[in-house]
């Protein structure tokens, strides 16, 4: 996904990101990785309702999430009920979550893929929202 300029200034916020499985992502794998279900699911970030309120974000606002290894721009939605504690973000596994992880496996073969330190800033949505379904690769 292309990067876009900030819509309005928001201080860089620090979070811990946990990529993981969801039923919709799992079904999307069988339906096809270029289908709407899969692509929407892996390109949506979840945040605790408390953090959404604190940062004055509403469902569908776009944010840039960055690690030292890469950054992605995604719409954010409030996590259901008390699923996420404040300070923790969730995204379904996929190409976007992989872009945020480093290559170093610390001698284990496994890159650190959960519990990533990320920074988050608000950004403007892409010019053509349909672009969010465009395969990244």
């Amino acid at each position: 996904m292309e990067t876009h300029g900030d819509q309005r200034a928001m201080a860089e916020e620090k979070f811990i990101l946990i990529p993981g499985r969801t039923s919709r992502q799992g079904c999307g794998i069988s339906e096809g990785k270029f289908g709407t279900n899969y692509r929407e699911e892996i390109q949506t970030l979840q945040m605790s309702p408390q953090d959404m309120a604190r940062l004055q974000l509403k469902d569908g606002d776009w944010v840039r999430v960055a690690t030292e290894h890469g950054s992605v721009e995604v719409p954010v939605v409030a996590a259901k009920a008390d699923e996420l504690p404040p300070g923790v973000l969730f995204i379904a596994y996929g190409e976007l979550s992989s872009r945020l992880m480093g290559a170093d496996t610390h001698g284990s073969g496994m890159p650190t893929s959960k519990g990533l330190d990320v920074t988050l800033t608000k950004c403007s949505p892409p010019e053509m929202p349909a672009g969010r379904h465009t395969p990244a690769n």
Binding site: S23, V88, S98, S108, K114, A136
Partner: protein, 461 residues
């Protein structure tokens, strides 16, 4: 290209397949009733939401069986080109294996051996760290049947089966009425330990929400308490995010259980600490056997990732991350694992079987994979097949292809396919590649000729 012209054809007869096996996740449910109409499954009784999506979306697709550099080609041409790419490589990588039959995995291991390749499976990026921990600590384990009949304290740690293995609770771990748990759910206590209050947490009697990246500290807290050591309450709460009393209560429940089980997931293996987290959990399980019977099991994701561990172990002596370049196997996670071999830019060709590193690997690994020639086998189009030099569309295991898979508890389960596919199986493609590679790299000695294998440079003929 598959001919899908059906105009004017009568509706195909409905066929029922009893006891079909779902290979979407490691539960490998083998009690599915499939309703099949021609080359389409129209209903999958007893399958969960993931299983239903799996069965109902694997019909025969209108795609070429083989693409070479994006252009349709015959399967024979594809096999020839794939064999050439791999045989000419100095450091080929054979990776994936977890979503295919044991029979195909065996051929992949043989092919890797003939090639002198690095052989790695998707285990390295799911429970590979647990595989390392098993070697260090050992595994006190059991079958899912024992859990079903005996388990009275069921703990899920860093695992969310409600979304990843939806029938886990009903088929094996929580709901079933078993020999020693006759009242089913009422005879069991379920504890979920996680950073997020997942859907699984909502099914638990006790949910323990720990601080992100505090699994290691929490597990060692439990080990210390199980040993009867005194701990600083303030420190424990600061390290784990939960008061000491919560951990004391859990340890007492663990000791009191008649048959305790910990199912653990990638919340442990993918988070900082990785194999050290798994080691802590395996050691805790071992410690608890001083008090009662306690076992643990990784909740495995892909349908036959456990088969991949078994096959690679029985063929090479190691479960994943094996290098065969010297003619004998060497195991070294971090050196011979696919994520590393690619990110460091070492492999100069690859065979990707039933997996999607182009979606799941780090950016440097993906960029390197894009630069080298590689062969991909998959029933579906994926980011990995899109970039492959040679991409084969293969028949789907369990739906079109018979064979064997291993459930997450190492129990082999037979597959009962629903309908035939016009596409070749993974095994057929791999055998074709293996035959050519073997002929080219190790031609049968002719009388009077040298017995030494042909040099890689002389493969073109």
């Amino acid at each position: 290209m598959i001919d899908r012209e059906r105009s004017g054809a009568a509706e195909p007869e409905l066929k029922i397949v009893e006891d079909a096996t779902c290979t979407f996740c490691g539960c490998v449910c083998d009690d599915i009733e499939l309703h099949v109409q021609g080359d389409r499954i129209v209903e999958a009784k007893r399958a969960c939401v993931l299983g239903t999506a799996w069965f109902l979306n694997h019909h025969v697709e209108d795609r070429p069986a083989c693409l070479i550099r994006g252009k349709p080609a015959s399967v024979e041409e594809g096999i020839h080109e794939a064999a050439r790419i791999l045989a000419e490589a100095k450091y080929p990588l054979v990776y994936g294996l977890s979503d295919t039959t044991v029979e195909a995995q065996r051929v992949a291991a043989s092919l890797a051996d003939w090639l002198g390749a690095c052989l790695d499976t998707t285990t390295s990026v799911c429970h590979g760290p647990s595989g390392m921990a098993f070697q260090g600590v050992g595994e006190v384990t059991c079958s899912l049947g024992e859990v079903r009949n005996r388990g009275d304290l069921i703990i899920f740690w860093g695992s969310n089966p409600a979304e990843s293995h939806p029938r886990h609770f009903t088929k094996y771990s929580l709901m079933p009425k078993g020999l020693f748990v006759p009242n089913g759910r009422r005879d069991r206590t379920c504890v979920v330990v996680d950073v997020r209050k997942t859907k699984s947490a909502k099914a638990a009697d006790i949910f323990i929400q720990i601080k992100p990246r505090a699994d290691f500290e929490a597990l060692w807290t439990l080990r210390a308490l199980a040993k009867g050591l005194e701990l600083d309450a303030r420190q424990v709460e600061q390290d784990t995010g939960q008061p000491l009393a919560v951990w004391q209560d859990l340890v007492e429940r663990m000791k009191r259980a008649r048959f305790g089980v910990i199912f653990f997931g990638m919340g442990l293996t993918m988070t900082r600490g990785k194999h050290a987290n798994s080691e802590a959990l395996l050691a805790l399980t071992r410690d608890l056997n001083r008090h009662t019977r306690f076992v643990c099991k990784p909740n495995r994701g892909h349908g036959n990732v456990t088969g991949a561990d078994n096959v690679v172990s029985w063929r090479t002596g190691f479960p994943f991350g094996v290098n065969l370049a010297r003619g004998y196997p060497r195991f070294n996670p971090g050196e011979y694992t696919a994520a590393d071999v690619l990110a460091r830019g070492e492999a100069d060709a690859a065979l990707i079987l039933a997996s999607d590193p182009m979606a799941n690997f780090s950016q440097p690994a993906r960029e390197h994979l894009k630069r080298i020639p590689y062969v991909a086998l998959d029933p579906k189009e994926t980011p990995t097949t899109r970039h492959a030099t040679v991409a084969f569309t293969v028949a789907t295991y369990g739906i079109n292809v018979p064979g064997t898979v291993y459930r997450m508890d190492d129990v082999p389960i037979p597959l009962r396919p629903a309908f035939p596919s016009p596409f070749p199986s993974d095994q057929e493609i791999l055998e074709g590649i293996e035959r050519l590679v073997r002929q080219w790299k190790y031609p049968r000695p002719q009388p009077g000729l040298s017995l030494r294998p042909a040099a890689a440079g002389s493969l073109h003929r």
